[in-house]
Symmetry: C3
Subunit: 137 residues, 3 copies
């Protein structure tokens, strides 16, 4: 059973950015040679997430407005007593999810018509990593 | 290592419905012949989710009331400028989660006493699919 | 392909407790002999979760304050008509997530610098279980 591991690196210009990574994940799956299996796509940092949803700018903006309402920036989080100022980023990534498992069928990502994979950065402007682990046959 | 793939189809009568699918998933696991492994159950549409929780009508109603409070229908979501009216459905499915991985031990779903698997539809009345992918030995 | 299954047991003193389990999961991975693969860590009870985030007491307190705001204890949940009083616990665990998949690379958990695995108990003071399922080669 081949197991294939790769990493995607991000260094966003903005503190918050949502980046579509469907093609990057598909390329890693293709390189793995796995025909039937699954791929784990998981943020390795705790203020970023990975999620599946629509590739539509209005919706991405809706997600960001909504997350700001549910987990506002600038509240006096206790976490900030350590010198950090990103308490909200930990909460926002929790809502969006930090990882997904994608099915691989006949050598390709087995996604529905509108499913796209996104990296959601909530505390960017620094180097961060996502692990992509393919397992199958 | 056997990898076995199947799909569940849904076409709900109501826009929002939560449907228990534990037995359907268990039947696919059984057909796969996998004795030790895992099964991925993942919504292939971006306004539906899959989650594990209690099979109790009061709680299901509580979930729906709660989701309406956290992600209300009918707000002027930017996504609606595309002609869609289901912005809230994308957010609601994000809260509930879009997929689960279930352990398979001794040929059966290895679930706790109250764990039940649900399909959560937030924009129904159309044909939709869930992928069920079994992997193991 | 080895598949290795183990369980972690919890019996918390408080109704709500977050417990770091990174080392316990790492020990199970080590015992499995799997060099390349994944491990599923999943709560088997529906009022508890498993999540990955920072090991920092202030942030853990922030999570708990935030969850109380999003899913307050003591509301007249319909679920309580069954005699239960833990409706909020079902909702809180849904926000935090009920499971994670962790990559295993070169025989060890392949985690980012700040990633720690936590068991989140929302209705404790009773015996509960988490399944840990390792799969790989």
């Amino acid at each position: 059973m081949p197991v294939h591991t790769d990493y995607l690196w991000f260094h966003t210009k903005q503190p918050q950015e949502f980046i579509r990574i469907t093609e990057e994940v598909a390329a890693i799956v293709s390189a793995s040679g796995v025909q039937e299996g699954m791929v784990l796509v998981s943020a390795m940092h705790i203020t970023a997430g990975v999620y599946v949803n629509d590739w539509e700018d209005g919706l991405i903006s809706d997600f960001q407005t909504w997350l700001e309402k549910l987990a506002p920036r600038g509240l006096p989080y206790k976490h900030h007593q350590t010198g950090e100022d990103n308490g909200d980023a930990h909460l926002k990534r929790t809502i969006m999810g930090h990882q997904v498992m994608l099915p691989i069928t006949a050598g390709r990502l087995d996604l529905g018509p509108w499913e796209q994979v996104f990296y959601a950065e909530f505390d960017g402007q620094r180097k961060k990593r996502v692990v992509v682990k393919v397992m199958g046959e």
